[in-house]
């Protein structure tokens, strides 16, 4: 028998790390998070706001805004493509990098940052896939090809592969501290690609257009209803990201409590379903059953 003593480190996203210098340990029972009324309502409100704002973005993007003089109707894809790219590259992967750095920093080391990084990477990978698909669909009628080995496109694809590797690394069985540390290093390694993606349009000759909003002069080259729709798209997709991050973080807390081993979880489920069954995973003394 190996004994793990749950610590008292915070498990809620808003609570932050506990004391400085605290060694990372497995979380305590996550009921405070799972049953927190405030957390549930915050998640619901963010989710509802995200859904409404995405609906408004689609309505404005497809029916209200005019076609572009040069791009025609294809400009409508621009209302979502930069938004998903912003979430994937800067919000999700940027947050993962910062969280990983805070985990590695001894004074702020806490499993809170590890879980936050894991949640951000998973959501970021989904948004990164959306970025590549929406960009490809825009590129086909504009450039004549679905894909080009352009600097920005290639580096964005490399970023996706790197963070898929991060997710694969998390699934390799290991002690929690070991897993968290090596995943943090992997996230920081992958994050080196983020500035390369951002500045690729300036450093190399690329098919991809340069910055429209955050350009060198900070003078957006888009205006009118198009600019407002683009801005709403950014806000809507950011809200979607926040909602997904909150939900994914909660899943991470619950997974850490019960353990993510599929076999152990399946056993626990069956035991818990049995009437009056003691939900132990072989402990034999009625103690808790955190696996892995």
């Amino acid at each position: 028998m190996t004994t793990i003593t749950p610590d008292t480190s915070p498990t809620t996203p808003g609570a932050g790390p506990s004391t400085p210098d605290a060694e990372p340990t497995r979380s305590a029972l996550p009921t405070s998070l799972a049953q927190s009324t405030r957390m549930v309502w915050t998640t619901r409100i963010v989710g509802l706001t995200a859904a409404v704002s995405v609906g408004f973005t689609v309505w404005l993007g497809l029916w209200v805004t005019p076609p572009d003089k040069v791009q025609g109707d294809l400009v409508r894809l621009v209302y979502i493509h930069p938004g998903v790219a912003w979430v994937a590259l800067y919000l999700a992967f940027g947050l993962a990098a910062v969280s990983s750095l805070l985990y590695l920093w001894p004074r702020t080391r806490s499993f809170f940052w590890d879980r936050l990084a894991a949640a951000a990477v998973e959501v970021g990978v989904v948004f990164n896939i959306c970025t590549l698909i929406s960009g490809s669909i825009w590129g086909r009628p504009t450039w004549g090809v679905w894909w080009a080995w352009d600097a920005r496109l290639t580096l964005t694809a490399v970023l996706l592969v790197l963070f898929l590797g991060y997710l694969a690394l998390r699934r390799i069985p290991a002690e929690p501290e070991v897993r968290a540390k090596r995943c943090a290093f992997a996230a920081l390694f992958a994050a080196v690609d983020i500035p390369l993606v951002h500045f690729s349009v300036d450093w190399w000759k690329t098919l991809h257009q340069g910055a429209t909003v955050l350009n060198a002069n900070l003078s957006p080259t888009i205006h009118g209803s198009m600019a407002w729709t683009l801005l709403l798209g950014f806000i809507a997709l950011t809200l979607v990201f926040v909602w997904m991050l909150l939900v994914r973080y909660r899943i991470g807390v619950l997974e850490d409590f019960l353990g993510t081993g599929e076999l152990e979880v399946a056993i626990l489920e069956r035991q818990a379903e049995g009437a009056g069954a003691t939900p132990t995973a072989g402990s034999g003394d009625g103690a808790a059953e955190v696996a892995r």
């Binding site: 029972l29 009921t31 109707d73 409590f257 939900p279």
Partner: protein
């Protein structure tokens, strides 16, 4: 316009399906934890804060 509709449909579908999957996973894990906690309470174990045993491999 077909490309535009395809782009919106694919991106929003991916986000929607991932969101549904997240909600399902959260519900599954929350229910599982609740069941385990209920079982803990039934045997008077206490659960939170207690040392937990991990079965040897």
């Amino acid at each position: 316009m077909n490309y535009v509709v395809a782009g919106y449909s694919i991106v929003l579908s991916i986000l929607f399906l991932y969101g549904v999957q997240l909600a399902w996973r959260r519900r599954r894990w929350t229910r599982l934890v609740a069941r385990v906690e209920a079982s803990h309470a039934a045997v008077g174990d206490g659960g939170a804060g207690a040392a937990v045993d991990v079965p040897a491999e």
